[in-house]
């Protein structure tokens, strides 16, 4: 996404650019690629659960972001995740929210 105007379909997301199994490849290492996506979905879900949202892989090409009532949106990569998440849950997703941090810290301590 263009960071100035918010137009979709811009650059590849920076988080995709670190070489590791399943990240750079498009045609080989099918299993690694799926595993990496599954891992992303798992980690993103842990974060999104705090906002009542879920994310799932769609055909290994996009992600589907959904609320508990089924309102959903397709996103291309993780660069589009948070603007879409805020639209769907109707409130800002702020990592500096003290309540959010406290809840995450409590979960780690358990």
């Amino acid at each position: 996404m263009c960071s100035l105007c918010g137009v979709l379909g811009g650059n590849e997301h920076w988080a995709d650019a670190v070489a590791r199994p399943g990240v750079y490849t498009r045609n080989v290492e099918r299993i690694d690629r799926r595993r990496e996506r599954a891992n992303r979905v798992r980690i993103a879900n842990a974060m999104l659960a705090r906002f009542g949202l879920t994310i799932s892989d769609w055909q290994g090409a996009s992600f589907v972001l959904a609320t508990r009532t089924g309102k959903s949106e397709i996103i291309e990569d993780l660069g589009h995740l948070w603007p879409a998440a805020e639209r769907l849950c109707g409130r800002p997703c702020d990592p500096l929210d003290p309540g959010l941090i406290a809840a995450a810290e409590a979960a780690i301590d358990d």
């Binding site: 960071s3 988080a15 650019a17 590791r20 992303r40 702020d94 990592p95 959010l100 995450a104």
Partner: protein, 359 residues
């Protein structure tokens, strides 16, 4: 005969600095310097630099070739169009094959939109990449400007190279006060003094030094031990809210979680995160990854060859404008670190990596 190589992605350096901070004087010097003989320089106005005695050939209305080999152009309208025009002329062989572009920005401009243009324009992003941001600061007025103007603080915060100008006109005490202030805002951009006899134009655009040495410098330098350093002005009326601090963490970072966390932070507070720069110990990776971001824009992460020293901790420098540093640190630790059990944290991933490198 060696054919000059055009790099796959031509770096674009941005020269910025507050009004009257000596940008144009520095630019006039750059234009004549052999170190930039392979560069194209985009300026606002031919008149202000005084090129006549360097002129070799006038290519068209907006473009001239200088004695040093440097191509000098004025920007009319959109910067992106000017760069595309240059690119097109280079491809067609109408201008010498420059290997770098230097863009002069206006004194009040926030440097971020220029960097963003390079990364998001559908043509430019395949041929160009952001290079060093060079910021000039005037030794006579710099301290006052930093106390009064947010733009000035932002320009210093995003700099990869800081150049102090007019140091010969200011009392030594003022210069050292300015240096201290600059260090507080941007702890690891190398500082150069324009009037210094050893001032080297090549050092301004040399990037390896930028990413690597700057990261190393902050690890061994005075910011290393304290996890948080507030470095704002000393309680003046115009106190600036720009704060820089360094986080060091023992535990490895989960790349995906870090990516999700940083995107989330930048989505909400991107305009206030002036700079993120660091060297990360990623779970399951042998080599460190260097990251580098300016506001909403994160440069492509770089896998470094090896760790600079024995210390395997991740170190990240943040320069923020008015964000709560303590919350930011807690948020990072809560969301970005690898929480998988120690035994299998790196095992399977490493074997995959080996398989990849052997194939």
């Amino acid at each position: 005969m060696t054919e000059p190589q055009i790099p796959r992605l031509t770096p674009i350096n941005l020269l910025t600095g507050f009004l009257g901070s000596g940008k144009t004087t520095l630019l006039a010097r750059l234009l004549a310097d052999p170190a930039l003989s392979d560069a194209a320089v985009l300026i606002n106005e031919f008149g202000e630099v005084g090129l006549d005695h360097h002129l070799v050939e006038r290519i068209d209305d907006t473009m001239v070739l200088l004695q040093s080999g440097c191509l000098c152009c004025t920007v009319r309208g959109e910067l992106a169009d000017a760069i595309k025009d240059l690119h097109s002329k280079r491809e067609r062989g109408l201008v010498p094959p420059f290997r770098r572009i230097v863009v002069e920005s206006t004194g009040l401009a926030d440097p971020f939109p220029v960097l963003s243009t390079i990364k998001s324009d559908p043509v430019l992003r395949h041929h160009f990449r952001p290079g060093n941001v060079i910021t000039t600061v005037d030794a006579v007025n710099g301290l006052r400007q930093l106390g009064a103007y947010v733009e000035s603080n932002r320009q210093v915060a995003v700099a990869d190279r800081l150049v102090i100008t007019k140091a010969d006109l200011a009392p030594a005490a003022d210069v050292s006060g300015l240096v201290e202030k600059l260090r507080g805002i941007n702890p690891d951009a190398p500082l150069l003094t324009a009037s210094d006899p050893s001032f080297d134009v090549a050092a301004l655009v040399d990037e390896n030094l930028g990413l690597r040495a700057a990261v190393l410098q902050s690890t061994s330098g005075f910011y290393c031990e304290a996890p948080i350093q507030l470095a704002t002005a000393q309680g003046g009326v115009h106190q600036s809210a720009v704060t820089s601090f360094v986080m060091s963490v023992e535990r490895a970072i989960d790349w995906t979680a870090f990516g999700i966390w940083l995107t989330m932070l930048l989505n909400r507070h991107g305009d206030r995160v002036l700079r993120v720069k660091g060297i990360l110990n990623i779970a399951g990776e042998e080599r460190p990854v260097a990251i580098h971001g300016v506001q909403h824009l994160v440069h492509t992460p770089v896998h470094m060859e090896r760790w600079p020293d024995e210390d395997r901790r991740s170190r990240i420098v943040f320069i923020v404008d008015g964000l709560d540093v303590e919350l930011l640190k807690r948020s990072f630790e809560a969301f970005a670190l690898d929480r998988s059990p120690v035994e299998d944290a790196a095992g399977p991933k490493r074997s995959l990596q080996e398989r990849q490198s052997s194939s």
